[in-house]
């Protein structure tokens, strides 16, 4: 009989601690790391080849979603820039005494970019979680049907 080993995917759950630090410092980007606690639910699951196959499938979908949203964000910012709302960095940010003056449109682009980064991070993680849960449910449902045979 083969020994069951701990599921390595569950170690990612420790990244959730970054989320707790994020709550303490009220940093939205870090708070999203709380989602990583979900990985602890896999600590008891035997990491066999069907499990890793499901992880690969879920990761592929999450990767595709991430690339898609990143591309859309970059395209949006690019067309926003070429449509006249964007100005070169040298003009958008100017030093004045001990302070920096930042163009409002330029600042808005930065805010959009950073906000989208957080949103894309959440969407990517959620895509991975939901896909993995769906695949695991599908295989369980299948075995339950088999019990009746």
């Amino acid at each position: 009989m083969k020994q069951a080993k701990k599921n390595p995917l569950s170690y990612l759950g420790w990244l959730g601690v970054i989320g707790i630090i994020g709550i303490y410092y009220m940093a939205p980007w870090m708070i999203t790391f709380l989602l990583f606690f979900f990985f602890f639910t896999y600590s008891r699951m035997v990491p066999d080849e069907l499990f890793w196959s499901n992880v690969r499938r879920a990761a592929t979908k999450a990767f595709a979603v991430n690339i898609g949203f990143q591309t859309l964000t970059f395209l949006f910012l690019f067309f926003r820039a070429v449509s006249g709302k964007g100005i070169p960095f040298s003009e958008a940010v100017q030093a004045s005494g001990g302070a920096y003056l930042v163009d409002a449109n330029y600042l808005l682009s930065i805010i959009i970019n950073s906000s989208m980064n957080v949103i894309i991070f959440i969407v990517t993680l959620c895509t991975f979680f939901f896909c993995l849960m769906r695949y695991n449910r599908q295989e369980k449902k299948f075995v339950e049907e088999d019990k009746t045979c």
Binding site: M1, K2, E139, D146
Partner: protein, 65 residues
Amino acid sequence: MLKTRIRELRARDGISQGELANLVGVRRETIGNLENGKYNPSLKLAMDIAKVFGETVEDIFFYED
């Protein structure tokens, strides 16, 4: 489509899905999916299963149109 004789061999040897899963180090779900042609095993898993039943891999896994 890849077909298997796992269910038939389990019945012959009186082994449950869970017991076979423990013997080859996978989950019961994996055996269930294998039996129903929903998952193609790695060569290592196929050989492990063949060893449990004392058969060759070709005797357990085969293609059917």
